[in-house]
């Protein structure tokens, strides 16, 4: 068979512009290119041998190289970022490494540079193990080099899926156009260092796994049924009728710099919490006002605090709502307690005590424009659910 059997019309045009050809043929050492040390290559060659199916051996090898390169790139900075993965197993095509709370799906691109990137469906659909970020890394196996090309955020991928749909490959993976990978390596560093991965969850349909957590819960937050609590009134030292009816208690203005700590009064307890939280970057302006709701009235050993203040820094004025769920003095928050905050379309926060930190409190913050409302739910380990009327903000009303 002669090679000319495959004569194709694209041949003439594809190479017509030499300078384009040059630009896309050669790979310069970019800022995000790393050269792998022998130990990294040896690990990749070794660990990929565990892949039982010979057909997948080479892609597994490339992915292992990509992982080593990604790690080297991350650690070549001053931010102390590092990636964790199981060094005894080859990375699989799904979620294959972690940076902090980020679940990452590292996708290796060999020297072909395809326009379509295959991603494993689980990374998108698994409600509890989806990938927050996809990272595209080009592997130059001949040069033992890896270049971090770009990233794709889960929320963007979900949006793309909803707008244009995703094509299924024959092997059941999704084909995602490479131009969707629009986050630059610098963006990736920004996210991994500063962004809570929950922010990338995107709007997703309520999945079976989540439904299972709240058995027999008609998830009907009181959006439609109850009039909201107007938190804007708090700034004027007032409670509206709804808050009154719930027996919420208005807190005096805060003095977070309080010198000595005692935990006798609710406001002192809150001030203690705020001091503990300062290192996390949460500071409460002196203009903030709030309420607390003592749940001991319901026989529950906990207290919910809500603080609000206004934000004028963006073109549209915003308000901030911060919630703390803390144990009553001398008590602990039971494991499995959850604090959930939602806006009209999605869950903004879903906090539960980490094992070993039972004594701690949960907190959540939501920021929105003045016409936005937030629903707050506390879920108990028993499955019982407490929710409040939505918190709204109309300081003039």
């Amino acid at each position: 068979m002669a090679s000319s059997t495959f004569q194709s019309p694209a041949t003439l045009n594809a190479m017509s512009d030499f300078s384009d050809f040059l630009d896309f043929e050669f790979d310069s050492l970019g800022a995000t290119t790393v050269t792998l040390p022998a130990s990294a290559v040896a690990w990749a060659a070794q660990v990929s041998q565990q892949q039982p199916d010979a057909v997948y051996l080479w892609p597994t090898f490339l992915r292992s190289l990509a992982l080593q390169g990604f790690q080297q790139w991350l650690t070549a900075g001053a931010q102390g970022l590092d990636v964790s993965y199981d060094p005894t197993r080859p990375p699989d095509p799904g979620v294959n490494c972690w940076v902090g709370d980020y679940r990452l799906c590292l996708v290796a691109q060999g020297s072909l540079s395809d326009e379509l990137i295959a991603i494993a469906p689980d990374t998108l659909e698994d409600a509890s193990h989806f990938a927050h970020l996809y990272i595209l890394a080009e592997v130059q196996e001949e040069a033992d080099r890896v270049t971090i090309l770009s990233g794709l955020r889960r929320d963007r991928l979900l949006a793309h899926q909803q707008q244009t749909g995703l094509t299924l490959n024959a092997d059941g993976t999704y084909a995602v156009p490479v131009h969707c990978f629009g986050s630059s390596p610098e963006d990736l560093l920004l996210y991994l260092s500063c962004l809570n991965p929950v922010q990338l969850n995107g709007v997703e349909p309520v999945s079976a796994a989540q439904a299972a957590l709240t058995p027999a819960q008609p998830q009907e937050p009181r959006w439609a049924t109850s009039p909201p609590i107007n938190a804007g009134r708090w700034l004027r030292d007032q409670l509206d009728a709804v808050a009154d009816s719930l027996a919420l208690t208005l807190l005096p203005p805060l003095a977070p710099a309080h010198a000595l700590m005692s935990v006798s009064t609710p406001v002192e307890q809150l001030e203690g919490l705020l001091r503990d939280l300062e290192p996390s970057g949460l500071t409460i302006p002196s203009t903030a006002r709030g309420i607390y709701d003592d749940l001991q009235r319901l026989g529950l050993p906990m207290r919910l605090y809500a603080l609000i203040w206004t934000l004028f820094e963006s073109p549209t004025p915003e308000w901030s709502l911060v919630l703390f769920l803390g144990p009553a003095p001398g008590e602990q928050l039971p494991l499995g307690t959850r604090l959930i905050v939602r806006d009209a379309t999605s869950t903004l926060a879903d906090q539960t005590p980490a094992p070993g930190h039972e004594a701690d409190y949960l907190y959540a913050q939501a920021i929105g424009t003045w016409d936005e409302q937030f629903a707050v739910t506390v879920e108990l380990p028993t499955g019982a659910v407490l929710d409040w009327p939505p918190f709204s903000f109309s300081p003039e009303a």
């Binding site: 068979m1 000319s4 495959f6 194709s8 694209a10 003439l12 594809a14 190479m15 017509s16 030499f18 300078s19 630009d23 896309f24 043929e25 050669f26 790979d27 310069s28 970019g30 022998a38 290559v41 040896a42 041998q49 051996l57 080479w58 090898f61 490339l62 070549a76 001053a78 931010q79 020297s111 072909l112 540079s113 395809d114 326009e115 592997v139 196996e141 001949e142 040069a143 033992d144 090309l149 770009s150 024959a170 490479v178 131009h179 610098e186 560093l189 920004l190 996210y191 500063c194 962004l195 809570n196 922010q199 990338l200 996390s280 970057g281 500071t283 302006p285 934000l311 073109p315 920021i367």
Partner: protein, 462 residues
């Protein structure tokens, strides 16, 4: 200007390695007499001239050798052009010259019957006028020349994937889709292509992996498959045929690759920002005086600390794992960490360019300096360090609740503040800087603060 002389002027290397034109009178006389229409008329397209010459050469009649030599002359000019373009595109950053490349490929001595196969002849013999123009073919084979690739990849850090790497890294589903939708091949051709790649993978990938296992850490270009490998791939074909088919398939994939990289600027185009200077800031459209002022205040408070933290972390990272017992934070001369601090200082405070400062810190190329200093990342990391402080002091918001878009907005505002020209914030620092010896006074807030902060990491003699 008609460049018809290229058909009788050969570019060749002198004994001292210079590229020099040499007129071949017998070729000139022959083409002017034999092809007066094509070569005498300046309006004749090159393709027509080449076709006439190719026809003469292929016919093998009298004058065939002269027609071939005339084409070799033409090819030599395009080889030079390819080398010039490579050098102008990558030479400065990777520190090579066109002359270095030409020394590897201009090997035609202009004899009618050379005792070897010069590159010019190899190009002509493999040329198919139906597939591409001769100029394009010359460019492609020149860039593909093994010696050039070796020089660029091993010595200069510039990489071009081999045919075999591309075949290794292409999945069967990919080759099927590319042949079908990009090249418009028939179902039969697609099946042949897929089968061919499958045969190749089975043998070549396996051997390559085994080699990698045996010798990790010795990056090596994939070599042509051996006759034994080719035979194992498909015992029914001769090695030569099998090799040709694989090369053809790789060529198809390579074309697609160029197309994919050309059409997808985000991931595939190498981002080579202008490292030498920090970009002038864009006007922020929604500049809100008070808001920016609050940001500026925070930046003014924390910038020195942020830069110090990031530089310190980089020094620690660049230092050997086990520092001498009395290791100071000022790195010792000659070390990598020392080069890092010196490089930042020379660039930001002395106004030297990356290329200029390379030799001062024992490096040779701009690319190496780039990679050591990582300026974009340095500035990004300073911003990332500042962001939680901004959240706390300006937004009164815990970082956990900042959305990706809010984060980008903060990051951009910070970049704006860091890179805008300053004249008011650091008046004192400015006077200090101007009295020092630096010739390029740093213009951005970032550069100025860096110049102040970095002194604590410089040797005392500085």
């Amino acid at each position: 200007m008609d460049k018809v002389f290229r058909y009788w002027q050969l570019l060749r290397l002198t004994s001292s390695g210079q590229c020099q034109p040499q007129v071949l009178p017998q070729v000139r006389t022959w083409v002017q007499q034999t092809l007066p229409d094509q070569l005498g008329n300046p309006d004749t397209p090159e393709t027509e001239r080449q076709k006439a010459l190719l026809d003469y050469w292929k016919a093998g009649d009298q004058g065939a050798d002269l027609a071939q030599l005339s084409l070799r002359c033409f090819v030599s000019h395009h080889i030079r052009e390819a080398c010039l373009r490579l050098a102008s595109r990558y030479g400065e950053a990777h520190r090579f010259t066109a002359a270095e490349l030409l020394a590897l490929v201009l090997d035609d001595d202009g004899r009618l019957t050379p005792g070897y196969r010069p590159l010019t002849l190899h190009i002509l013999e493999t040329y198919d006028p139906d597939k591409a123009s001769l100029a394009t073919w010359v460019s492609r084979l020149t860039c593909n020349h093994p010696d050039i690739n070796r020089l660029l990849i091993q010595d200069k850090g510039l990489y071009r994937a081999s045919d075999w790497a591309i075949l290794n890294d292409t999945g069967l589903d990919q080759v099927q889709r590319i042949l079908q939708t990009y090249h418009g091949c028939s179902a039969y051709e697609v099946t042949l292509g897929v089968t061919l790649l499958e045969q190749y993978h089975r043998v070549y990938r396996r051997d390559r992996l085994a080699q990698k296992q045996k010798q990790p850490g010795q990056p090596s270009r994939c070599q042509d498959p051996t006759p034994a490998q080719l035979h194992e791939m498909n015992p029914d074909l001769s090695s030569k045929e099998m090799l040709e088919q694989l090369k053809w398939l790789a060529g198809q994939l390579r074309q697609y690759r160029v197309h994919a990289r050309g059409g997808n600027p985000v991931p595939y185009q190498p981002e080579e920002p202008d490292w030498g200077k920090i970009a002038a800031p864009d006007e922020t459209p929604d500049e809100q005086g008070e808001f920016l002022q609050a940001y500026r205040q925070t930046v003014a408070t924390y910038l020195g600390e942020a830069i110090a933290q990031v530089i310190q972390a980089n020094i620690v990272r660049l230092q050997p794992k086990q520092p001498p017992p009395h290791q100071q934070r000022r790195p010792g001369p000659g070390s990598k960490a020392w080069a890092y601090v010196q490089g930042l200082h020379l660039l930001h405070c002395q106004g030297l360019s990356m290329g200029q400062l390379a030799t001062h810190i024992n490096l040779t190329t701009q690319v190496q300096v780039n990679r050591l200093l990582q300026l974009l990342r340095l500035r990004a990391e300073v911003r990332h360090w500042l962001i939680p402080r901004l959240c706390a002091t300006v937004r009164h918001q815990a970082l956990d609740y900042v959305s990706a878009e809010q984060l980008h907005a903060m990051d951009q505002t910070l970049e704006h503040i860091l890179t805008e020209e300053v004249d008011h914030i650091l008046d004192e620092a400015k006077r200090e800087m101007q009295s020092s010896k630096g010739r390029g006074t740093p213009a951005s807030l970032f550069a100025r603060q860096l110049c102040i902060t970095i002194h604590q990491y410089m040797p005392d003699s500085e």
